[in-house]
Symmetry: C2
Subunit: 121 residues, 2 copies
DNA sequence: TATTGACATAAACTATACTCTAAGTAGTAT
DNA sequence: ATACTACTTAGAGTATAGTTTATGTCAATA
């Protein structure tokens, strides 16, 4: 699978895919004799995971740590699990924060709708 | 109220407060004869709002647009309401994305817990 | 053969949101 | 009077995550 096809499949850009490879999140991707990338099934699974995690704002640095542990093999399973559990907690916290903001936003919108605004921003 | 007190009250830094003022999100803050900032009630309300929205990731540029509209007076009420409603939708979308990621994270953690991982990242 | 288009690389650039530094002043403590 | 601390400013620097640019190669088409 070419970089273009992969980029299209995951709604990423070619640049982002090469960037992810450069920082070691994926790959190194297999290349043909002309030096053109040929993404394998395994690569696609990684990219899907990375994309999902990134879309929730999990930093590249953390994901890098995770894939590095993965590549070290079975002995790192506990450490990987711990990492995921930590990110889970952080993510829950962020979701709660955003939900609170959403609630305030809804309240404010209600005030606008009912014309009850006075001297508040 | 001094910048230090305000920063402490909202868990921001002095630098961030001055930065928000520089980009026009708040202020201009009243200053005493020595040029020291003295935050007023109205300023605090704005800062609380800004802090809340920022904590949910709403960009400064959008917030700036909102406070600018606010400062233009009542004639901008509809526009402000529309802006808030748009941000509400974006925020809901982001929360959903993050919730999906959280679900996947939980699923993955389950796999770790039950030792059912095989060749997946 | 000449050109075109997609790919490649390294490195510079951008966007967003701060954060820090340098240099200076005002008010207080010794 | 001197030192110390907290504040001030303008402007430079940092962090994160890409994105763009310059330059080059290769395969296929005109």
């Amino acid at each position: 699978m070419t970089i273009k096809e992969v980029a299209s499949k995951f709604s990423l850009t070619n640049d982002t895919l090469r960037y992810y490879e450069k920082v070691g999140l994926i790959g190194p991707i297999k290349k043909n004799k002309s030096g053109i990338r040929d993404y394998q099934e395994e690569d696609l699974r990684r990219i899907e995971f990375i994309k999902c995690m990134r879309s929730a704002g999990i930093p590249i640095e953390i994901l890098k740590k995770y894939v590095d542990l993965y590549d070290l093999g079975d002995s790192t399973k506990n450490e990987r699990q711990k990492l995921l559990e930590e990110e889970k907690v952080k993510l829950e916290t962020r979701i709660k924060t955003m939900q609170d903001t959403l609630d305030k936003l809804n309240y404010k919108i209600e005030l606008y709708k009912t014309n009850k605004l006075d001297k508040y921003l």
